[in-house]
Subunit: 214 residues, 4 copies
Amino acid sequence: MSISAESPTVKITSTRLLDAAGEVFAEHGFHRATVRQITERAGVNIAAINYHFRDKAELYAAVLRQCNCAAAELGGPCRFDEGTPSQRLRAFIDWFLRRLLHPKRPKWHGVLMAREMTEPTGALTGLIEEATRPQAVELRKILKDLGAGGLGEERLTMLGLSIVGQCLFYVHHRPLIEALAPRFKDKPPSIDTLVEHIHAFSLAGVRQSIRAHA
Amino acid sequence: MSISAESPTVKITSTRLLDAAGEVFAEHGFHRATVRQITERAGVNIAAINYHFRDKAELYAAVLRQCNCAAAELGGPCRFDEGTPSQRLRAFIDWFLRRLLHPKRPKWHGVLMAREMTEPTGALTGLIEEATRPQAVELRKILKDLGAGGLGEERLTMLGLSIVGQCLFYVHHRPLIEALAPRFKDKPPSIDTLVEHIHAFSLAGVRQSIRAHA
Amino acid sequence: MSISAESPTVKITSTRLLDAAGEVFAEHGFHRATVRQITERAGVNIAAINYHFRDKAELYAAVLRQCNCAAAELGGPCRFDEGTPSQRLRAFIDWFLRRLLHPKRPKWHGVLMAREMTEPTGALTGLIEEATRPQAVELRKILKDLGAGGLGEERLTMLGLSIVGQCLFYVHHRPLIEALAPRFKDKPPSIDTLVEHIHAFSLAGVRQSIRAHA
Amino acid sequence: MSISAESPTVKITSTRLLDAAGEVFAEHGFHRATVRQITERAGVNIAAINYHFRDKAELYAAVLRQCNCAAAELGGPCRFDEGTPSQRLRAFIDWFLRRLLHPKRPKWHGVLMAREMTEPTGALTGLIEEATRPQAVELRKILKDLGAGGLGEERLTMLGLSIVGQCLFYVHHRPLIEALAPRFKDKPPSIDTLVEHIHAFSLAGVRQSIRAHA
DNA sequence: AATGAATGAGCCTTCATTCAT
DNA sequence: GATGAATGAAGGCTCATTCAT
């Protein structure tokens, strides 16, 4: 509960800055984005960035933090203990994809993350450890329960990457996908369709792998 | 008569510029890269860019062109007519991956392309049409021969994206992969291993999809 | 509380810029003048131009505007309703010349305008309409009242140009005049002398023209 | 008579350079004009300027020299001994104006000279002495013969300037004139009309001056 | 006589940042 | 807490010039 009764309608400078920064950073990337753009879109004075966040990099870090928090909130915790291994794999893919493509999620979250993957700014170094590692661990657990435990580290890893790779492709390579499959731009498949497809595709792939190296 | 005995080893300005630019653009991205960095690394005068390529953007375009040519040369033409559909799928994956991960290919080629995927500069607009589209067509043909012809456009497309997605993941998300699977950094799997894995994984996926929607 | 006792003598950045720019532009012309020269002479940072005037061209436009305003202020409004036509012609010449040669007027005003006459930068396009046109109209009115109304457009115009041409010559061709008549440099005639001469000379010319084409 | 039979059709590099330079300098002024523009228009290599004229400034000086020579040729020598003083004044004005506005005269001669008047480059310092002074002397002689000899140096000079001022106005202030009298752009008065007007106007002015200070 | 390649200096602009209120 | 004014560093680009042939 905040002090001000007007807080719901009047955003505080720091918040407006954070929101505007998210959009601008996603649109232009960290380096191309200018602090002026951000402050103008936020409708605040240019010196406010320095006042509230010390500098541009700090503001960016704050945006990323908030962005990841929001993603975590939307996706819920990453734990999949119930049901058959196949169901749990499906739940994982669903959670992973929905977290990144969630309609309520500001579109720029994905874009921002994509940038960090291909050109890390260093602001995210810790974030990968904290946020991404647990997901990898969870997926590994599911794969083992599917029977891939005896495959050896390398193959197990490759299985995981094949699954995650399919998911991230839809998030990070939008421009490429839309160029290659124009209809995806006009009528993108629903998340459910995507989840179902990737789940079936991957489950078959995993099982084949297990059979082959049994 | 000049001391031209060393001419094979002394690169011409334009070439040195192209090479240096490739590295710097890959390292920092188009906008962050500075022409001064490039000319310094190339050991040439800053005005050489204007003389040989008119401006930074043209230089970048030239780098991309060369980069795509080199890739094409290494990979050979994209035609897969011989053998069973399964063999042809494998050939496609092999060609696709080898082209991008070829040891002789400067590592920055992949990085540069990755950037273009997530934040297109427009310099590549034509390149996608010319270079990437035929590959998509070829893959589609193979999938149809595998029996996926009756699946409908959307599913056919998703199958293709699942395959290409797996491949590109290894090329474009190196930083993420290495953060998640440290051992991949020390001892990355051979291209052969990768091809074999993705082929088997995907073939099973495709067949499963066909069965399910028969 | 600041040491604001000196504030009347310490000009604000924007003003210093405007003054320095006037001098430098007059000295070297728009294109040859460099923003570094200007900011150095003004004793301000080079980025101040961007902050206060956006860019060099805007600064130049501002200088011209101020220059024209100053001229208008010094000369007062351009209306000559009282007295005989001859007296009004004299008043016009007096006003016109005094406005341009006024001792309080920085010498560079004239030089700047002269440049715009021979190589317009386009920054002045509107200014001519707004500032110069009314003068032409006023002069025309006087000439008609002198009896030149029946002369036809072309001759009426030439009469006006002959008068204005004499005036502007003294303003715009100083270098030429001083080269041809060295004594004008040491002891230039007073504005009153100039006005008296041009008035008498022109009045005779106009009347002759009227007589000839009666 | 030159050595080469083809000289009439094939211009030598140095000549092409001179012609192209004249046009470009007139169009853009000395400082804005670039050596690349000139060499491109001349269709010669950029290094040719250095080879033939040492540098840009030297080329400009050469252009001015040629330009003044051409003007002298077209206008003939500046001597007016025959006829009544009034006729000689008319001859002077005719010669002066025709020399500057002569149809065969490349338009840029006037423009180039105009530039030198308002922003002397120094390349013309000597030229004024050599070329313009005699004209001033000649005009003075005519004015004295008209009876203005007793007027004193200052008034005599002002009379001359009034006449020359009218003439130069039409040459140097084209942009201003055309802005003020649009019809002059579409249908400029013939040189004959101009000469007749300025002669009549000035003759009356001179005589009036003589009467007044008799 | 003439050229393509290469150079170094300098220009305008933009940026993130800080200062003084 | 917040602001308008001002700053210094750097960026991309253009120019006249020269070098080696």
